[in-house]
């Protein structure tokens, strides 16, 4: 019964998202695209944070490398977009494997600081290596061609691009969800609760953490690959440490204990930013107040609090 309600609500939300370009003002196509991409970015981060209990401050590195990989391929090789997505996932995974290999052996604040340091190093490379990355200007001027070989969907149309992003994000989220629900996801949750207990159950905690970090890197790379054509640029800002903070904020805002929490958080983040900046420049102040309230009073995030309220168990 409960599952049926969840499925109906999800189907309704999905139908609403599909219909959005036809029913909402043109402007909302852009907001919707941004919400979906950042939601996937935040969900990939939450595999590391909410599920595995590791607070990474360097997640933008994987998002950024996905964006750069896509921009470079489209500029120089003009491959179909689908190939860019695959390469971006591989690039994100590979970079996460390297950074993770060096970071997952550390715990808590040391892990957070090390991932932050690596994230800043990747930013520095993108910023300084002008011959490849074009420095602070980033890589622009690339064109979207076919989606797949021989499949021309005119991706330049914002409504079409929105639908492609929606399709990719839904498939990616489904895969990510299956990973979270698998035995592997279960072990990650157990590690978050107590790594020592997992180790004397005979499991190599470090290896599982590295695997989670790498998978998260792949999906962050994918979200970056979707973002570059949307912004029409891959720039060092996408690798900046403040970009690493966004999925942290979105996950906490939405609720780290729920698979859809980060998507929810991304939606709140993007929509509020767009509305509030309409009448005041103090968007960051409002966001700060909201986050402080969330952390102090609504630890389960907006989605968690909402679900509690719907189910009637106030505590």
């Amino acid at each position: 019964m409960k599952n049926a309600i969840v499925l109906i609500v999800l189907a309704a939300v999905l139908a609403g998202l599909v219909a959005l370009p036809w029913v909402a003002p043109y402007f909302y196509i852009f907001l919707g695209t941004e919400v979906l991409i950042l939601g996937l970015f935040a969900a990939s981060f939450n595999l590391v944070f909410g599920y595995s209990g590791m607070l990474s401050f360097g997640h933008a590195a994987f998002y950024g490398i996905g964006a750069y990989a896509t921009a470079l391929i489209l500029l120089h090789l003009e491959w179909p977009f689908l190939a860019c997505l695959v390469v971006a996932m591989g690039a994100g995974a590979l970079l996460a494997l390297v950074i993770g290999f060096l970071s997952v052996r550390l715990d808590e604040v040391y892990f957070a600081m090390l991932t932050l340091a690596f994230g800043m190093m990747v930013f520095a490379v993108a910023h300084q290596w002008r011959s490849v990355t074009n420095g602070s200007d980033g890589i622009a001027g690339f064109m979207l061609g076919d989606f797949a070989p021989g499949v021309d969907w005119s991706l330049g149309d914002p409504a079409v691009y929105y639908h492609v992003v929606l399709g990719v994000v839904v498939v990616a989220a489904a895969v990510l969800y299956l990973i979270c629900r698998s035995s592997f996801g279960l072990i990650l949750r157990a590690i978050r609760q107590n790594p020592e207990r997992v180790s004397f159950c005979g499991l190599d905690v470090r290896r599982y953490r590295l695997a989670a970090f790498t998978v998260a890197g792949a999906f962050a790379g994918l979200s970056g690959a979707l973002m570059a054509p949307f912004l029409r640029v891959a720039s060092p800002e996408m690798l900046h440490w403040s970009m690493s903070a966004e999925p942290v904020l979105m996950s906490i805002l939405g609720g780290t204990g729920y698979f859809l929490g980060p998507f929810f958080g991304a939606a709140i983040f993007v929509l509020l930013e767009s509305w509030i900046t309409g009448f005041t420049d103090a968007w960051m102040l409002v966001l700060g107040v909201m986050l402080a309230l969330m952390v102090m009073f609504f630890r389960r995030g907006v989605l968690g609090t909402l679900l509690d309220w719907v189910q009637g168990n106030h505590d």
């Binding site: 949750r189 157990a190 020592e196 180790s199 004397f200 159950c201 005979g202 190599d204």
Partner: protein, 234 residues
């Protein structure tokens, strides 16, 4: 010998917790570690499975030196631990707690499966989908033991299995230990001398990180002088 500790020294930072522990376990034995609070009982178990690796000395399990190996490797070799305070995974259901510990090795038929656990311990089957955090103390202890069985141990280490449990539950845990003793080698610690000597065949007494006495359980039961000297709280 299945397990041998030879002059094991373990430190917590600068505190010298084990100061040369030497003991042996033959296959099939059930042995208890006795001693007052802080004598080093828990630390001995944790030093065996690698959670507090010894700084000096040797731990030999089935002929292999294991004192330098990480805990997960030692667990995979066939040593299971039921930690003190019934440390299950709260937030995971009973079934999920068992699933996490399940050995998935190719080409080997595991002795324990979730189904077999549920057959042997129907109480856990009834609680299969319940969150571990909502279980009673006794139920959590059953789950902690069952979880350790899922790792297919040939040697089982139990740390204070009765701590804080009601007398009726303590009886059940005693029966469980007797039942497992038929198939598994066991080393356990307990605050209750009476309980420990009832269910173990042999006992070691620890004091200040050293083994100070070794005896058959039956012998030590009669030896009130030794009990008074090393184990009385007064």
């Amino acid at each position: 010998m299945m397990l041998e500790l030879d002059d094991v020294h373990t430190y917590y930072g600068e505190s010298h917790a084990l100061q040369g522990v030497t003991l042996q376990l033959a296959e099939g034995e059930t042995v208890c570690l006795l001693g007052r609070n802080g004598a080093g009982k828990s630390t001995t178990l944790k030093s065996i499975i690698g959670l507090t690796p010894p700084r000096r000395g040797r731990v030999v399990f089935e002929g292999d030196e294991i004192q330098r190996r990480p805990a997960h490797r030692i667990a995979r070799m066939g040593i299971g631990l039921v930690p003190e305070d019934r440390r299950i995974f709260p937030g995971l259901s009973v079934r999920e707690n068992l699933d996490v510990a399940q050995r998935k090795r190719r080409g080997e038929t595991p002795k324990w499966s979730i189904e077999r656990i549920f057959d042997n311990y129907p109480m856990l089957a009834e609680l299969a989908n319940q969150d571990g955090a909502t279980l009673s103390g006794g139920q959590q202890q059953m789950l902690a033991v069952a979880r350790s069985l899922m790792t297919e141990p040939r040697l089982l280490l139990l740390d204070e299995p009765n701590e804080g449990l009601a007398p009726v539950i303590v009886k059940q845990i005693g029966a469980l230990i007797d039942d497992l003793a038929a198939t598994t080698t066991m080393l356990f610690t307990d605050q209750s001398v009476h309980f420990a000597l009832k269910h173990a065949k042999r006992a070691y007494i620890l004091e200040k990180g050293r083994i100070v006495h070794e005896a058959d359980a039956a012998e030590l039961r009669e030896d009130t002088a030794t009990q008074d000297r090393f184990l009385s709280v007064a």
